[in-house]
Amino acid sequence: MTSIAPPAAQLDRPASPARPPASPIKPTGTARQGLFATRRPDAWWIEPTIVAIGFGAFILYSLFSSLVWEPVFHVPYEAQGYLSPFFSPLIKPDWLPWWFSPAILILWIPLGFRTTCYYYRKAYYRAYFVDPPACAVGEPTIHSRYRLEAAFPFILQNIHRYFLYLAFIPLFFLWLDAFLALRQEGVWRIGVIGALMFLNVALLTGYSLSCHSFRHVIGGKMDCFSCSRGALLRYRAWERATWLNIHHLRWAWASLISVAVTDLLIRLLAIGVIGDPALRF
């Protein structure tokens, strides 16, 4: 089946990048090799570019906000009873040095959860690793020795389910923060930022419950949904998780944006740039 493979120079390929040697374990095709080699005339590069910019902006903002903004520029992460979602639950023992942000103690959980998330993996493999940059678009030849999730370090993506379990801890505290923010100094209030905190935690909950690992654990791992009453219950839960999972991409982006916006508004409130219009009773 491979004996009829054409010589490299005779087919429509760029001359420079050397094609990897033929392998007995895959068909020997004639795909164009080399970075961004493709015959697609459409703007395939727009999506990975937007993703790369969007993720990059969030990563830079979250690092600045959680590690630098308060220790260096003295912009508090709490204001009028609102706590930034990057810092919840707030763990701040007295012995922590001034430069050590308490966010570090928490942020690794959502960071690990999102880094190992199946949607984000697709997004950053395309946008940052160009592996591939888009469908039927060429990759850098450095990718020829390919192992990815079959070897260290990317094999660690398989622990995504543990980050899911851990992610429910900050999620619980974010709900708690949202409810606690309803009452400040003995007065009930429904403020814009308080409502945003509820929206944020709702989106984070949707993102967590639409997770592929959650869908698997809750029922997808079963082969028979009708074999017992318990299996039937798990089937119902799996159905709902599947319904959420269809929109996992949207949950991922919406919750990412809402976390950043909530944090930003609380910071702006703290330094007096904005107010917090609220119904108080």
Binding site: M1, S3, P27, G29, T30, C135, E149, H212, C224
Partner: protein
């Protein structure tokens, strides 16, 4: 309507190849395959095109239209800007035979390494029962028409060299349809991890994007399989739980080589197996559907290990035996 300007790949292995320009008169509702037939009828009678049903169900006419793997019988010319040329070339992940025809027999060799549907030995076919909800997932995967567009677009097969074999999305979907079957008894997780190379898939979803049957290959097939492999190999809590319960095995399943034949070896005689033939074994009892070793090398005999695919399948077997209503056919579709 204006003419469509097609640039069609012409060539054979070992000969100079080129893109040849054709102007094709366009009629309403015309698809790319119609244009190729017009070229065959009026300009190039020796143009090689593989096609059959012209209804997007046989999966024969796969090609790359403007760089995207597509069924030419399902790709309308009206979807393109006819002022620009439309390129048509063969599926690039597979060896070229001539013009737009490629050799996809590798796929059938991979297919034969998958342990087929294996019902309980002590359960006669007349007593197979299951509920619709149990096979909804499987039925989605059974929509596959084996056009191999997903294999073509998969960057692991298309662009990479790997140390071990990677079976590709089409066959991950087939394994998913077997693994999720309510009465199938074989555990294929070790096969998926070691022989099938599921770790090579980095879930970039190109297979899902090109599937003409709109199967959610990644979300509903590959990711659940990755999670099942993680259950067996990458979850320390589940490992400890199995230890406590005295279940050492993760379900060894089968140990099957993928294409042991060296480069340049002639294709195995059975390579002419049609997709229909290859998948028909799924509904046959395992005793009559032993997978053949692929290739011409010193193939190890397929080893089927009766596995511990967890108590739920035992429950499923019992349930299947006592349920009064349900389907009686062997396949899930």
């Amino acid at each position: 309507m204006p003419d469509a300007h097609l640039k069609v790949f012409r060539g054979r292995p070992g000969e100079p190849s080129e893109f040849v320009d054709f102007d094709v008169p366009v009629e309403e509702g015309m698809v790319v395959l119609d244009a190729l037939h017009w070229i065959q009828g009026h300009r190039a009678p020796d143009l090689a095109v593989r096609w059959n049903c012209k209804a997007a169900k046989c999966g024969s006419c796969g090609a790359e239209v403007n760089g995207r793997p597509s069924l030419t019988c399902k790709t309308r010319l009206s979807d393109f800007d006819l002022d620009e040329p439309i390129t048509v070339e063969p599926m690039r992940a597979f060896p070229l035979i001539k013009d737009l025809v490629t050799d996809v027999s590798w796929n059938y060799a991979v297919n034969r390494t998958i342990t087929p549907f294996t019902p309980p030995e002590n359960l006669p076919q007349e007593q197979w029962r299951w509920q619709q909800r149990d096979v909804d997932r499987v039925q989605e995967f059974r929509k596959c028409i084996e056009c191999f567009l997903c294999q073509d677009v998969c960057h692991v097969l298309r662009n990479h060299e790997t140390e071990r074999a990677f079976m590709g999305p089409r066959f991950l979907i087939r394994v998913a349809s077997l693994e999720m079957h309510p009465i199938d008894q074989v555990d294929r997780r070790q096969y998926l991890k070691d022989s099938g190379g599921i770790g090579y898939c980095n879930i970039t979803k190109c297979c899902t994007e090109v599937c003409p049957e709109h199967i959610k290959i990644t979300d509903n097939g590959i990711i659940p399989l990755k999670e099942r492999v993680a259950d067996a190999y990458y979850d320390p809590l589940q490992w400890a739980w199995r230890k406590l319960r005295g279940r050492e095995a993760t379900g060894a399943g089968t140990e099957l080589p993928v294409l042991p034949a060296p480069v340049g070896a002639p294709p195995p005689p059975a390579a002419a197996t049609t997709p229909t033939d290859a998948t028909a074994t799924e509904s046959a009892p395992a005793q009559t559907a032993e997978p053949a070793a692929a290739g011409t090398g010193p193939a190890r005999p397929p080893r089927r290990v009766r596995t511990t695919k967890s108590a739920r399948q035992t429950a499923g077997r019992k349930d299947a035996a006592r349920a009064p209503r349900g389907r009686r056919d062997g396949g899930a579709g």
